[in-house]
């Protein structure tokens, strides 16, 4: 405590470098995006402020189907990845053995970049992929055309699979640490009190690790909702994921299209931020609820 009164500027000096880079690139980038989405773009002679671009974007069918497409994929892939991740963590913790080799190989999908994940899904699930080949061998299909289109399809199955493949091990790595410390503290006692395997999972592991499950879900959601690579490589031409749609508007040679791209970006960012807020809100009440219970 003494030290803080002595030099109250110290933490600000420590934070100065990281905050200045964030202000210069992140805040400025976000600020300019907001201004341009509102039609303020002096570089091409747009001076006024208007909500016209948001209105037009919201009226466009491509935007709406893209928004729905991105949202659906982000929700489903993050939810499924979270479920697989926590199951893996639970199964490993209950072995009460470390299996360091298994833990190491499960890190691989986290290290592998999204571009490679997209390619991996392509080699497995495309109409000439290994699964289609197996189908031919087993006589389930007679030509590659009969294999269901899972890549570049309008339901986005390929995109979904790529995000799940990357996301599940990520959730596992985070949850394994959490579940292991819960196991050390509680499981013996619960067992002695007569808890069954199901009790352990649903009444101890799951409720105690729920904040970590949710925060990893949110990180995955925000990432898959706002990223470009995987829907660009595995997505259909219609509907197009929101980041892909925004980039197409952005590289349009007609610069007056840029405000539309920015408006789409702001809707993307807005939904992610809303979700973070929702997360904090839920957990403020969740903790309160748990203390009561």
């Amino acid at each position: 405590m003494l030290q803080q009164t002595k030099s109250s500027m110290k933490p600000y000096i420590y934070l100065f470098p990281v905050l200045s880079i964030l202000f210069f690139v992140f805040t400025l980038g976000l600020g300019i995006s907001i201004l341009q989405s509102l039609g303020y773009y002096p570089g091409i002679g747009l001076q006024g402020f208007t909500l016209q671009y948001y209105r037009e974007v919201f009226r466009s069918g491509a935007f709406f189907s893209g928004l729905l497409f991105s949202f659906k994929i982000a929700m489903l892939s993050s939810g499924i990845a979270a479920m697989i991740g926590i199951s893996l963590a639970y199964l490993l913790v209950m072995q009460r053995k470390e299996y360091p080799g298994l833990q190491t190989v499960l890190k691989l999908p986290v290290i592998v970049p999204h571009l490679v994940a997209a390619f991996l899904i392509f080699t497995l699930f495309s109409q000439t992929g290994i699964i289609a080949r197996l189908g031919m061998l087993l006589g389930l299909i007679e030509s590659s055309q009969q294999f269901p289109a899972l890549i570049f399809d309008s339901r986005g199955i390929g995109i979904l699979l790529a995000y799940i493949w990357k996301g599940a091990p990520f959730v596992f790595l985070i949850l394994y640490q959490v579940l292991r410390s819960i196991e050390k503290d509680m499981v013996e006692a619960a067992r002695n009190l007569g808890a069954s395997g199901g009790d352990l999972f649903f009444r101890i592991f799951l409720p105690l690790s729920l904040p970590s499950v949710f925060s990893s879900f949110i990180i995955l959601f925000a990432f898959s909702f706002g990223s470009y690579e995987i829907p660009f490589l595995l997505g259909p031409t219609s509907p197009r994921a929101l980041p892909v749609l925004a980039y197409i508007e952005y590289i349009n040679p007609d610069w007056t299209n840029r405000p539309y791209a920015m408006a789409m970006n702001m809707v993307l960012a807005g939904i992610s931020i809303l979700l973070v807020w929702l997360y904090h809100w839920i957990f403020k009440h969740y903790r309160y609820f748990r203390k009561e219970g």
Binding site: Q4, I21, L30, G31, A261
Partner: protein, 272 residues
């Protein structure tokens, strides 16, 4: 559930996640594998050879990628260690806001940020340069660095540093002999994470690098798009190999350095 059932489930699910990577390995040494055959018809090292032969553009781009990722890692560690220290140890007005603000890049789509700052970078003349690419890569990794170092400093506090000072150590000595070894596990995990994320970036490099900064992912994408599986797989294998080697290097070099270190540093680290 029986323990044995759980073990089978665990191994089965892990295998489903990991084994597909074998497909990439096979495709990288496949020259010909027509549909619907289940096994490659002809194996060879043509794909890997095209990437790894001296003077190949792919090899050059691999070096560019490593150079950028190393720079991003060092700069980000350099700014997030003091930042995490401030947030982990000190109490000060505005701390709550800053703690949320530094995590914001995780939540806001990088597509929005990159497009927003693009024009400014053009005016500053740093598009199409490695400097611009390094700057744009730093933003998404700041949250990870800050989070890891805030947690570590919250845990270790500054008592050890104070003791050192009482015993007469200067600030430089304190930093190199006490702070650095104490937070070494965090430096290793944050460093690996930052390196990997920068190494894997595509979109920010594409827009800010403008095609002049040719990183490995940029060269790889056309092969994935055109469905050239042999080349795409070869790129993937080299990419994963380089990433794994880099991670091993980060871990072992730092550990070795501090194990062999004399005095409190070596003792403290090996005692952990």
């Amino acid at each position: 559930m029986e323990k044995a059932t759980r073990k089978i489930l665990l191994m089965g699910m892990s295998a489903l996640l990991i084994l597909p990577l074998g497909m990439i390995l096979i495709w990288s040494v496949t020259v010909s594998w027509p549909f619907p055959e289940l096994f490659p018809r002809e194996l060879g090292l043509r794909g890997l050879g095209a990437i790894l032969q001296p003077g190949a553009p792919a090899l050059e781009s691999l070096l560019t990628s490593i150079r950028i990722a190393v720079l991003v890692t060092f700069i980000t560690l350099g700014i997030t260690i003091p930042g995490g220290r401030a947030l982990g140890i000190h109490e000060f007005p505005g701390k709550g806001f800053i703690k949320i603000f530094v995590l914001a890049p995780l939540m806001v789509s990088p597509v929005a940020i990159v497009m927003g700052i693009h024009g400014t970078f053009i005016r500053l003349g740093i598009t199409n340069t490695e400097l611009g690419v390094v700057l744009i890569h730093i933003v998404p990794v700041i949250p990870y660095g800050i989070r890891i170092f805030t947690n570590i400093f919250e845990l270790v506090g500054d008592q050890l540093e104070e003791q050192g000072k009482v015993l007469g150590a200067g600030s430089v000595q304190t930093f190199f002999h006490i702070t650095l070894p104490t937070i070494m596990p965090g430096i290793i995990s944050a460093g690996s994470l930052i390196f990997i994320i920068s190494f894997s970036q595509y979109f920010p490099t594409l827009l800010i690098g403008g095609g002049s900064v040719r990183t490995f992912p940029l060269l790889m994408v056309p092969y994935i798009q055109s469905g050239d599986r042999m080349m795409a797989a070869s790129y993937s294998v080299v990419f994963i190999g380089a990433a794994v080697l880099a991670l091993l290097a980060i871990e072992n070099v730092l550990k070795l350095y501090y194990r062999s270190g004399t005095g409190i540093a070596g003792v403290f680290y090996s005692g952990k």
